[in-house]
């Protein structure tokens, strides 16, 4: 009988702990995300689509000179303004041969951006939040610094991804052309 009670106790304890964590998330994360989402949604609407598209046309020009713009600033603006998954439509403005690299670059940014701008990818917050929740327990004052570094490191990574994918795509297309 005692064993049964202990078993039931252990069983229900899983859900009690889960519920405690849930309450913690609800009061800690939800309010700030809702307010932030509202502000950014409104900002995006006020800035308007035309202005964003004008910028996209400028930023997606060809040439090595525009590489840092094409694979850092452009994905950042795309993900920030249009959010996942609409952000990939910015590929429209790019020359055909840069489209795969831009996609690679943009899609790799949809998680690093969530540390500071959760609106950009609300459905996949827990890549960041999962790890941040742990850091919050051990070193609460470190979370914001970590979010900023995640964002900056993300920008470096997407630039590298854009460049590498460009190179690989070029090699693959020329090989294909050679075969045919």
């Amino acid at each position: 009988m005692d064993a049964l009670v202990a078993g039931a106790e252990a069983f229900i304890q899983v859900f009690r702990t889960a519920a405690d964590v849930f309450v913690g998330f609800t009061t800690g994360i939800i309010p700030i995300v809702v307010v932030f989402l509202t502000a950014v949604n409104a900002l995006v609407k006020f800035i308007g689509e035309e202005r964003v598209e004008g910028f996209a046309k400028w930023a997606s020009q060809e040439g090595a000179l525009y590489m840092p713009v094409r694979y850092t600033l452009l994905p950042f603006v795309a993900v920030f303004m249009l959010t996942n998954p609409v952000c990939y439509t910015f590929g429209t403005f790019l020359p055909e041969k840069h489209k795969p690299a831009f996609y690679d670059s943009a899609v790799s940014f949809v998680h690093p951006i969530t540390g500071i701008f959760p609106h950009a990818n609300g459905g996949e917050l827990f890549v960041w939040l999962g790890i941040a929740a742990g850091v919050e327990i051990v070193a609460p004052d470190m979370v914001t610094a970590l979010a900023v570094r995640y964002l900056l490191a993300g920008l470096v990574v997407i630039l590298i991804r854009g460049i590498v994918t460009d190179i690989i795509y070029n090699i693959m297309t020329s090989r294909r052309a050679g075969v045919e």
Partner: protein, 174 residues
């Protein structure tokens, strides 16, 4: 005068309307995607913390997640071109592994300095399932998609480990 009043009324109405709609979208997203996923995630956390499962997983993860080399191995495995599209959808795998590692960081089993490289190590497969759709959204030609898919997947084998190193460097001095 009347025209002025009308114009002020209209523009204020427009601003308030936009803000209200923004709020509605925000709450919508919260209710429909964030909270449901949160419920699922907290259940997983509850299981990890209260059952032996946690310790078993912890031992498995600790070996990989507490050193740069281990994270590198995780990253290379996730980036294998056959596996990466399978691991990608909805970032579910990355989110679960993120929660697992986060929980271990919270229990003190993994050092905080590993948090940033880990964020990149668990995620080299990001969007690998979505390449054709993403390219189609950018109005890419079918030939671009044919070459673009293997190009992105191959590129991840190289840029995945690089991203872990970048994460590690950015975490220095934290």
């Amino acid at each position: 005068m009347q025209a002025l009043i009308e114009r002020i009324g209209r523009s204020v109405g427009g601003v308030v309307g936009t803000l209200f709609q923004a709020g509605r979208d925000a709450v919508d997203l919260c209710l429909k995607t964030i909270i449901p996923f949160m419920a699922f995630v907290t259940f997983v956390i509850g299981l990890i913390l209260e059952t032996g499962v946690g310790d078993a997983i912890a031992n498995g993860i600790k070996g990989f997640a507490s050193s740069l080399g281990g994270l590198m191995i995780v990253c290379i495995i996730c980036a294998i071109p056959v596996l990466s599209p399978l691991l990608g959808p909805g970032a579910v795998i990355a989110q679960i592994v993120g929660v697992l590692i986060g929980t271990e960081i919270g229990r003190g089993n993994i050092d905080v300095s590993m948090a940033l490289p880990a964020l990149f190590a668990i995620n080299p497969q990001v969007g690998c399932d979505f390449v054709p759709v993403g390219l189609a959204l950018g109005e890419a030609e079918p030939e671009t998609v044919t070459v673009g898919v293997p190009a992105v997947l191959t590129s991840r084998m190289i840029t995945g480990p690089i991203s872990v190193v970048v994460g590690y460097l950015f975490a220095l001095g934290l």
